[in-house]
Symmetry: D2
Subunit: 360 residues, 4 copies
């Protein structure tokens, strides 16, 4: 099956291939009256767009977003959402005309090539077609709109690990995130990663990464037990991002090694509702937000496209080796950071609206 829609009452549908004329998202269910023009989306596109440093792919895409529907000039002259579907389009401009015969006729290990062929019998092999991470540009556009639905929620993601090199939790300074090409909140780690990532790139290799995301300002009560739990929907949304292989809420796998006392988040009376003395739960209990920051960790595998030759087979079933030439990110997790933020925003905004539906 093909299933390109995400969300329950705030729903978005994405379309487009890596080397087609354009890609986009249709965001449906957005509340009316929100101020929205392209300039409110573009900064998020720019954070994700390729070609901004030597540590990401050199494909040059301006990733200029166009709003084709769903907004209209309000009485105050400001363009505002009308409550109808918002069609967002991004044109592809830097598809290289090149010889695709190798990738057309063989399967790159780690890529979706073989799986797509097994499923559909046929695939757009140019740049990975629909399975390319270019699809995530459309999510980032939709996510920028989702943020406007929750002005009191602040979402921040950063890279906490590349390869085996982790940041020092004690050194986290969120203001550092924008100061380096890695979305890294630890200046010393960012410095180390320059050599690490550049080394992998030069070696024709690639690296995995972990991205952490925190949403502050989420009130207690969002979530839909038991099959649209806030954490279930986050898990689904994050796992749908290209190259993601693991999702944790709060302490995640670390919680498996704790005792009940260690893992408890004790509560104390506070002036404005309860306070918590820890946040092992990552802000979610029983699938519902508790009012603490919502915390999610996402594991990205290393980029599958590498210059190092790997054993594979051709479409005809012959053994061969393949080296993936072309322009690729040596570490896809880096540019995954704005995508993780976007998915967090889309899940939370959907649940804000779902909560309002049932509980007023």
């Amino acid at each position: 099956m093909s299933w390109n829609t995400f969300g329950r009452v705030l729903r978005f549908t994405t379309w487009g291939e890596s080397h087609g004329p354009a890609l986009g998202a249709v965001l449906d269910g957005c509340p009316p009256g929100l101020a929205l023009d392209e300039s409110m989306i573009q900064p998020f596109m720019d954070a994700r767009k390729p070609g901004q440093s030597k540590f990401t792919t050199q494909r040059k895409e301006p990733d200029q977003v166009k709003i084709l529907s769903g907004v209209f000039e309000g009485p105050d002259g400001q363009q505002r959402t009308t409550g109808t579907p918002i069609s967002l389009m991004i044109e592809n401009v830097d598809q290289r005309s090149k010889d695709y015969s190798e990738v057309a006729n063989s399967y790159r290990p780690g890529h979706a090539d073989y799986a797509y062929d097994a499923k559909y019998g046929f695939r757009d092999y140019r740049g990975g077609g629909r399975s390319s991470a270019r699809e995530t540009a459309a999510r980032v556009a939709a996510g920028a709109v989702a943020r406007l639905i929750m002005p009191d929620v602040k979402i921040t993601a950063y890279v906490s690990q590349i390869g085996n090199d982790r940041i020092d939790p004690a050194a986290i300074d969120l203001t550092e995130i924008g100061n380096n090409p890695f979305f890294c909140p630890d200046a010393a780690a960012a410095k180390r990663w320059e050599d690490l990532v550049d080394g992998a790139r030069k070696a024709g290799s690639s690296l995995g990464a972990v991205v952490e995301c925190v949403a502050e300002g989420v009130p207690a009560g969002w979530g839909a037990p038991v099959y649209a739990k806030l954490d279930s929907d986050l898990a689904s949304g994050m796992m749908s991002i290209n190259a993601v292989k693991g999702v944790e809420i709060g302490d995640g796998f670390g919680a498996a090694a704790l005792s009940g006392e260690q893992n408890a988040d004790p509560m104390r009376a506070g002036d404005n509702g309860p306070t918590f003395e820890a946040n092992h739960a990552g802000g979610i209990s029983g699938g519902i937000s508790t009012g603490q920051p919502v915390v999610c960790r996402v594991a990205f595998k290393p980029t599958s496209s590498i210059l190092t030759p790997v054993d594979t087979i051709s479409r005809d079933g012959e053994n061969m080796q393949i080296r993936t030439k072309g322009r690729h990110d040596p570490c896809v997790g880096i540019r995954g950071t704005p995508v993780v933020e976007a998915m967090m925003a889309l899940v939370l905004a959907d649940h804000k609206m779902l909560h309002r539906a049932q509980c007023g």
Copy 2:
């Protein structure tokens, strides 16, 4: 919102509270003509049911499942699915009449008590009400039917870690799983866990766990990119299980530390289609099955109900301490094992049918 339905074309809806008269599942979309009677479901219920060893809760529930609809005697005299909704009901028989005033008037840390109150303003506090893991009995019943849809798929889950104690991967013997009360495939680890779990129980503490699940026999081509990816739906389904805080596919977070060469799953020509020389991907690429075993790991936090006092607040906002008396699992991950298998079955069967819808 309340959202108690899971699945896309094979859909199930669960209902019921821990201390209500009954709980159940309605499974809709099941193919017609499958042989089905209660005896085919009961063994899975029995694997999950409480009170079978001193390492699980002492609540005595027979968890006898009744089929109320959706089956009829076929021409051969065998009861078979008719293609209409299958209503499965399990009566609660061992709800203890006891004094619930403490849990009614305060919030147990780690439980959904506070979150439910924040959301709904009101909750059935008896045994956790709807947020109780008794809900998972209904999933196990539905999962037993889902297995019948895929007779060629074999699903096996086991506990690979309790607290800090992991099994030895080299010692895995799947035939051991049924020989100990921990669903443990490593006889030596199972032996160690007796003291570990009993110690936690006696100390009024609890333990987390990791459950691994493998599905063999899944053909290449199941999955629905990009928002119903097979791994996204598994992540959603697993994360919806009570106490789960993390989900990994294949190498999961371990993949973040690998290089592209290390993480590749090289392919070789085989007599019956391609073979793979590794399975870091856990059988899923681009959201679609590759024909390799589908591998998933699930982290359970330690049981939140512990006898050790924890700081909390009352509903009135006063500071207090709470000890959770009553009958509880010292390690919920253990009985989570059949639930993980059930969710794997339900996700896979749904995707088998989705694939057939689009690709014939």
Copy 3:
């Protein structure tokens, strides 16, 4: 496919066969805190239940509804909805043990027998199995809960035509509806229908009917353009009722014969918002309620079960004739009236909640 769930955020799933042990509905997404016990549902069940006059089937079913989940005693001692799924069960008590061999081995024209066999290859033929109108008992139970979500909305349905005999619109007196066994608001017509329906019954024949339904108190603004329009969802809901073959909103097919001036619903300024000088639109424009009464008309075909022999074929493909013995309504439209009200309530309550989700 089997698809037994209706609704978008207020969703219900029904299950059960005519001659199985029970049938029921699971209603999910209901707001928390609503006073609800069985006594608030039973009057609606009683209005639909069979065997109350000689003009309906003589099957004796008490249609006693049981609430199995989703309610709990509130602080005031009143049982209230908790926001979790409400499981409603109705036991079948008057299934006649009889010889079903004829209906098992042949196809009753107008019934779903042949279509079910063509689809599923197999069917529960006792009393029509899943295709029996007994399924509508579950809708009526769910609908009774839906009404509680909209205390300001008043829903009234009545029979406006049986066979070729229409009520006199000028003679409509809604207080008459409960005074006759036909839900007829025109006392003179009700008198005539006694002979009409009794005559059909005695002749081994049956009659069609038209049911009209009016919902007052619906505020302007409910509805979800363009594919969940309020009228689209009403059309879907009404057409899903057994034996229904047509649905109209407002003037319906009559509007096709009007000119634009005749069909306009002119507006005038009123003290409490606009007033309308006509309601050809049936209270819906562009798929959204206008604040006028929502008006729907529903056509029921004559009962397909008749004693008069009809040409048909056996399962083996042999020509034969069939007479449908057993207990049947001579005019299913009559007992369809409470079902039409229930579907109106379920659609409107869903849209009240959807509107709140998007527009606050």
Copy 4:
């Protein structure tokens, strides 16, 4: 709420306003490998497009469809569907720059103006914005693709009534449909309608219409009881078309006036499965196709945009009159004909795939 997606496994989402830069549809779930290029869609667009005779609006829109994703050159050089979402875009080129102040500040009776304002507090009033029937161009594009999924199904719609003037059923000649500007299968009626429609246009009035649609070649077994019945989904789809106020399956409201014997569709043994001696049911029993032609009738109200002044109110709540100037269809039902065909195709293709999902 805004809900712009239709379908269950074959799903499409439309976007765009009457006077925005473009409108479109994203069709998701389409089977892979179908030959598809723009030339296979354009003839259906041309059948619906405006400005082709004096009996429709004079707005000149080429309605040129562009395929932006979801197709790729197959091994045979033919462009084919890949199984990924198909993005279809139609640019608006003939939006007139004009003074919209009257429609911006008042409510046109029969239009969605007031309802949209009541719901969203704000609307794109240019040409009706999202509530304009221009949205149906996107459905026609999607419907053209849906037809390719069912090459054996032949769908034909025609106008059977304009105003009070009905075609003669005995005179139906489907080859006539393309010979007149009314999609009329009765040449004599088409001749009469020239004066009828032209007269309404000149009088500043408008006319309603009835469209009938027949799908031949649908096998027995499509449909999804009980809430996605084939007839329920048709009712929902047809009622979602702008200006539609009624939907009938088979004899529809006429069936209400028949006796059970008259309404029966007797069956006889045939060489290739059963034959039916009548089709009162319109090819659907119990929500499932019977193998007979699927027959649907759809009532369109007269165009609400008329030059004749009608009483209304301003946004400020003042009484006033309004005449709707601009370019409008004197009878929207005419151009609704290709839209009815498109919705029939989309519903049937979805059910073909749903049936395959469950029953293989």
